[in-house]
Amino acid sequence: MFSDQQLRTLHAAIDRVIPPDDFPGGVEAGVADYLLRQLGRDLAHLAQDYPRFTDALEAEAQAAHGQAFVALGDAQQYALLALVERGEVQAVWPLDPATFFAQFIEHCAEGYYSDPGNGGNRDGVAWRMIGYEVNG
């Protein structure tokens, strides 16, 4: 579904949405695993759009900075995604940037904060971070 390059772009974007600090970022916590699983399942209708989204991010990075998205520093990636969030893009996007990005944020949060059975929130790390305990 994703080429290696598309996957690297996706990972970088996930880690800007849920960045690592003293708790794991989205990728380390399994958000990409969650997303890939869902793209074969409940989000199958977006299986074509997600690679288009990462390609568009890539085109956007090239248009703005003349560099690959993954080659940008964290701050530049944030700034670029903030423009995407507002729909202020330079490249030609095959999908609505603001709408797709809003969706992407939801999917990242689902992977991070829902139960580990869904493929993300590895070992319940997000729940430990926020103090949600499961007994019984």
Binding site: V17, I18, P19, A109, E110, N118, A126, Y132, E133, N135
Partner: protein, 539 residues
């Protein structure tokens, strides 16, 4: 073909109680349920697919595939999608996965039309029975199903003749904080009555205070539904046969109006049928209406009991104004079920609005629900600040919400879709209309009271969701086979027998004339108990 004394369609709150009563009295019962008879492990703790957050599906049915409904705009909706008005489909029905609030309606709830008048365009009406009639049956359900609570705190009701069988659960941090808020305001405060064992009861253990109560099955069966009480007893008696995974297609009725039995289709596509002396429909307000409409005869071409065009009308549930507050300290202490302190200060007697509703603090909120619905709107949705908010503040959020007594409209209704069929080939429910707009005014009034309470509890910042006009139903669905003396304006008589049919009954929320400002399940159980005992008495 097998013959039974009674066939019951639907093993939820109403049908489950009926099965228990009839089997105990020695009647041979066939209990039919479209959903499964699940073990605990078969009701997943999936945070994206449960009765609290059905984002991608359900943990307690119905299946996403093959069970569509249609809406007024022509769209087809699936069980987990907005507008479907879903309720759980499994043995125990909603009681398997509910939040287990065990409210009696108030005496005034049965007299809405005579108390407030009837707003133009609404079908607000009085019940043909009142609190006094239901009181012994409320008590019966509280003792036989098992409720914990504090009767002396229920000051909005006439004094209880018998206390609850179990004391209230010990309060958690959220309850203590919101109790202080109510005290600051001088409003009535009470521990919410719950179908949850606060101590060992009826051979099952006390609640372990876990964090997966509402929306999920109980890991220790300390949450009391029909599946582990009346249905379990009926099955033990040997008098009740349970068939799960079967969808009833139609009720067979002869030319004289006498019901003969039912036909069904199982999940493997096999057809079956049985005959009985009586048939009880307990499929919930949407599906019970659908079944009656799908059982048309030459005598009643518009559907059984539908000679006055009443079946399927007055669909109602509850609007839920919801207020969220951010507190300086932690509110969430991981002591489930979470919700527990309530006020009935504003169910009635409010200036300029019709009725009102109960307000309470909420259950433990799943992290993903908190992220999706509870985060304040001025917090960034991504990046460091969003993560930091969840990390620092998830446990500092509180919420207050409550069911508003709806003002029904005859146009809020269930009909049959002329084209769309389910996986069994049965015409599906088409949902149209809305609740009467007066409901929005009452809900806005209740939203403001919730805000007041939240501030009095010490929240630093308060925001929330005001309900908009819409069709209601969902887990509290009611009203589509309204109870009444007059066959021109109702579907069942005050004993829940379908007008014009000696041996056909409806025992579920469909019969509610109005739905109270409370979770309706105890009232469904009480009315069903009363009707089922009457059926046996008159056998």
């Amino acid at each position: 073909m097998s013959h039974y004394d009674a066939i019951i369609v639907g093993a939820g709150a109403g049908g489950g109680v009926a099965a228990g009563v009839l089997a105990r009295e020695g009647k041979r019962v066939l209990l039919l349920e479209r959903g499964p008879h699940s073990e605990f492990a078969q009701v997943p703790r999936d945070h994206l697919r449960n009765q609290r957050m059905s984002f991608y599906g359900h943990n307690a049915g119905p299946d996403v595939d093959g069970n569509p409904r249609t809406l007024e705009d022509g769209s087809i909706v699936l069980p987990h999608e907005r507008g479907y008005q879903n309720n759980a489909a499994m043995v125990g029905g909603g009681t398997r996965v509910f939040g287990a609030q065990a409210w009696r309606f108030m005496p005034q709830d049965f007299h809405m039309a005579s108390t407030y008048g009837v707003p133009e365009g609404s079908s607000l009406a009085d019940w043909p029975i009142d609190y006094e009639v239901l009181e012994p049956w409320y008590e019966r359900a509280e003792w036989e199903i098992g409720v914990s609570g504090t009767d002396s705190a229920m000051t909005h009701l006439p004094p209880y003749k018998r206390p609850y069988p179990m004391p209230s659960l010990a309060p958690n941090t959220s309850m203590r904080t919101h109790l202080k808020g109510l005290e600051n305001l001088g409003w009535q405060a009470l521990p919410m009555p719950q179908f949850i064992n606060s101590e060992d009861y009826n051979g099952r253990q006390a609640c372990i205070r876990c964090q997966h109560c509402v929306g999920f099955a109980c890991p220790v069966e300390a949450k009391n539904g029909t599946h582990n009480t009346t249905i379990a007893a009926a099955l033990r008696s040997g008098k009740c046969e349970l068939k799960s995974g079967v969808m009833v297609e139609r009720i067979d009725c002869d030319d004289g109006g006498r019901v003969r039995g039912v036909k069904w289709i199982d999940n493997g596509g096999r057809r079956g049928s049985a005959t009985a002396e009586i048939v009880i429909v307990s499929a919930g307000a949407v599906e019970s209406a659908r079944l009656l409409l799908n059982s048309a005869t030459t005598r009643e071409p518009q559907g059984l009991g539908n000679h006055s065009d009443q079946v399927g009308r007055h669909l109602q549930g509850h609007y839920y104004p919801m207020v969220i507050g951010l507190f300086p300290e932690r509110m969430m202490d991981n002591q489930g079920p979470g919700g527990g302190v309530a006020t009935c200060q504003f169910n009635h007697g409010n200036p300029d609005v019709i009725g009102g509703g109960m307000l309470a603090d909420d259950f433990i909120v799943l992290p993903i629900i908190s992220w999706k619905m509870y985060a304040p709107r001025d917090i960034p949705r991504w990046g460091h600040a969003a993560k930091q908010f969840m990390r620092d503040k998830y446990r500092c959020l509180g919420d207050i919400k409550g069911p508003v007594h709806e003002i029904p409209s005859p146009d809020g209704r269930v009909t049959l879709d002329p084209k769309v069929r389910d996986k069994f080939g049965i015409p599906v429910a088409h949902l149209s209309g809305t609740t009467h707009p007066e409901t929005v005014r009452t809900a806005s009034f209740m939203y403001e009271r919730a805000e007041e309470w939240m501030r009095a509890s010490g929240a630093q910042k308060v925001w929330g969701y005001r309900p908009d006009l819409r069709l209601s139903g969902g887990q509290h669905q009611a009203g589509t086979c309204r109870m009444g003396e007059d066959p021109a304006q109702s579907v069942v008589d005050p004993w829940q027998r379908v007008h014009g049919h000696d041996n056909l009954f409806v025992l579920d929320g469909s019969v509610h004339v109005t739905n109270g400002g409370f979770n309706p399940v105890l009232t469904i159980m009480a009315t069903s108990w009363r009707a089922a005992e009457r059926i046996v008495e008159q056998w």
